[in-house]
């Protein structure tokens, strides 16, 4: 009897936690599909009475009533910047991770420490000098300028993750392949790469999420539609005293959906990635 009572208590506790995690996001999603009048309504309307796509039409510039914000441009910029910096960061991370996992060399620990420390520099602190230098060399407000910075943000973490995965693959496997006539290059692609795939995938996801979601640096290094990303574009909705709530919620949905889809596809690898393969997902 007591055990079933306990079980319900646990379920109730989990339910409360899940509610706290889900309700803020659901509230945003509901507002995105809500009529603007309902937001201000007294008494409050909890569940939208009429679901509408008007907010999306408005921010995409498809309705006549309101001037649109170039969301599609921002979206394209975000995709270009995030995908490019992720692909490059994973490639460079694989090279670096392999070097740290498979070779002994002088200054290895020091190199690793400095690599990690470079990642801890707060975005806003890094943005000051990068802003000054980029504006002198003409990289301000270009995709390339942002990609370069995001590469530097992502490389240390991808190296850290991928190094952890390569280390768990016994050296004897690739040695055996080399004895059988593979070159080291072939042994890497045929033995080590397939085994480390889930680690590489999770490194890629983290790199993508970092680039997709970054704000502090992008808000200073981008100026116009030429390179503004979605998180920076979100600030377009706040004027000094007014906030376009429904528009901002619609924009929020546009930002979160790609990240959500991607994460659910590879979620199995994510936990293995976070614990450096020590625990299977």
């Amino acid at each position: 009897m007591e055990r079933s009572w306990q079980r319900w208590l646990i379920r109730f506790g989990v339910f409360i936690v899940m509610a706290i995690i889900c309700v803020p996001g659901l509230w945003i999603v509901m507002t995105a599909f809500r009529d603007n009048v309902e937001v201000m309504a007294r008494p409050p309307v909890w569940i939208p009475e009429r679901w509408t796509l008007d907010n999306f039409r408005a921010i995409l510039g498809l309705s006549d009533s309101q001037q649109g914000i170039p969301v599609i441009r921002y979206f394209m910029n975000s995709v270009i910047i995030s995908v490019t910096s992720t692909v490059l960061a994973v490639l460079i991370g694989m090279m670096g991770g392999y070097a740290f996992a498979r070779y002994r060399f002088k200054g290895k620990n020091v190199a690793f420490l400095w690599l990690m420390l470079s990642r801890t520099v707060p975005g806003i602190s890094l943005s000051l000098p990068v802003f000054m230098i980029w504006s002198r060399v003409g990289l301000i407000d270009t995709d390339f300028g942002v990609i370069l910075v995001y590469l530097a943000l992502n490389i240390p973490f991808t190296i850290w993750l991928i190094d952890g995965f390569f280390r768990q693959i016994p050296l004897s496997l690739s040695e055996a392949a080399q004895v059988d006539g593979c070159t080291r290059w072939q042994a890497f692609w045929k033995i080590e790469f397939p085994l480390a795939k889930s680690g590489i995938a999770s490194a890629g996801i983290f790199a993508f999420l970092t680039s997709w979601n970054e704000f502090a640096l992008a808000s200073q290094l981008t100026r116009t539609t030429a390179s503004k990303t979605l998180p920076v574009g979100l600030m377009d909705f706040t004027a000094q005293f007014t906030v376009d709530w429904t528009g901002m919620c619609a924009m929020a949905v546009i930002i979160i959906v790609p990240a959500l889809i991607l994460t659910f596809i590879v979620q199995k690898h994510l936990i293995a990635g976070l614990t450096f393969g020590g625990v299977k997902g």
């Binding site: 646990i10 506790g13 989990v14 899940m18 995690i21 889900c22 803020p24 996001g25 945003i28 937001v39 201000m40 008494p43 409050p44 460079i92 090279m95 670096g96 392999y98 070097a99 498979r102 290895k108 190199a111 990690m116 420390l117 990642r119 801890t120 520099v121 707060p122 806003i124 602190s125 890094l126 000051l128 000098p129 990068v130 000054m132 230098i133 370069l148 590469l151 530097a152 490389i155 768990q168 979601n213 970054e214 704000f215 502090a216 979100l234 709530w245 901002m248 929020a252 930002i255 990240a259 994460t263 979620q267 994510l270 936990i271 976070l274 614990t275 450096f276 625990v279 299977k280 997902g281």
Partner: protein, 300 residues
């Protein structure tokens, strides 16, 4: 090509691209910013970049009340947030570990806040705590106090609590997911043996479960410490340091000094304080992680 082959070993070649980029984007700019912190550089007066003022920026900083308030607030904020995230994450992990079904679904739901952009989390809580249209005030009014509108983000105390809540909402699930992974991987034999020997649940937790989980705690802390400054995004959109600078963190103060007031020299001096703070947190947790791995051996 032959020159490179003979001079550079494979690991150096493999690490070359990573280091070139880090040097270009992080090391060189930081050296430049170190230089700038010794000048009176203002964005509006380009010539002032060459105006060497020695330690004046740092001297002013030491006697700047606003800076010390922001610095102290940042320190308190980080300490409270990290501890709260750890305790709540541990609680949630233990709770979910006891569930008999649906663990996978729940773990997936918990990944939700991880995907959110910090700026989005800030916006979300700005909306929820808004005095006119926010969820919290709506709920209070629906419960019967119809004339109550609490200005959450205007009152300094509740504004700080709202920011703390946004931060905790975003990061607690990472702790919960990692600790849950640890709990699930934990061998059951020692627990059974301890129970047979007469340990009560608290003793089992304190002497068997918790030590086993410590490496996972430090992994979570180490990952978290790499990115402490993202609270900047949340504060920026929620209160922008207001009301009257009462939610100003070190990072928002840097942005205000550098970009709004255009006092780049001063801002760079401040940003060195913030960098040292971040480095301290990171080194501390990476050391703990390394030590925990050494004692645990197998967990990695």
């Amino acid at each position: 090509m032959r020159f490179f082959r003979s001079r550079l070993s494979p690991p150096i070649l493999l690490l070359m691209p990573a280091f070139v980029i880090i040097v270009l984007v992080v090391a060189v700019p930081l050296l430049f910013s170190l230089y700038t912190s010794f000048t009176g550089y203002r964005l509006v007066k380009p010539d002032s970049l060459w105006q060497w003022v020695g330690l004046r920026n740092y001297q002013r900083l030491l006697s700047d009340v606003d800076f010390w308030w922001a610095f102290g607030r940042t320190l308190v904020f980080l300490t409270v947030a990290l501890n709260l995230e750890l305790v709540l994450g541990l609680g949630i992990a233990l709770l979910i570990d006891k569930l008999t079904a649906g663990q996978r679904v729940i773990r997936t739901i918990m990944m939700f806040p991880m995907m959110f952009s910090p700026i989005l989390v800030g916006f979300q809580f700005k909306y929820i705590f808004n005095d006119n249209v926010g969820l919290v005030n709506n709920a209070i009014q629906s419960l019967g106090w119809e004339n109550v509108t609490i200005p959450w983000l205007v009152n300094p105390i509740t504004a700080n609590l709202a920011i703390l809540m946004a931060e905790v909402w975003m990061s607690t699930p990472i702790f919960a997911i990692l600790l849950l992974a640890g709990l699930m991987a934990m061998p059951r034999d020692p627990i059974e043996a301890a129970k047979v020997d007469g340990c009560n649940p608290w003793q089992v937790f304190r002497h068997i479960t918790l030590p086993y989980l410590m490496p996972f705690v430090y992994i979570a802390m180490a990952i978290r410490s790499l990115d402490v400054a993202r609270a900047y995004d949340m504060v920026k959109i929620m209160t922008n340091g207001g009301p009257a600078g009462r939610t100003e963190l070190l990072w928002t103060l840097i942005a205000r000094t550098g970009y709004q007031d255009a006092r780049m020299g001063m801002a760079n001096a401040m940003s060195y304080a913030s960098i040292l703070l971040s480095v301290y947190f990171t080194v501390y947790f990476f050391r703990k992680l390394a030590a925990a791995r050494r004692t645990m051996g197998g967990v990695e």
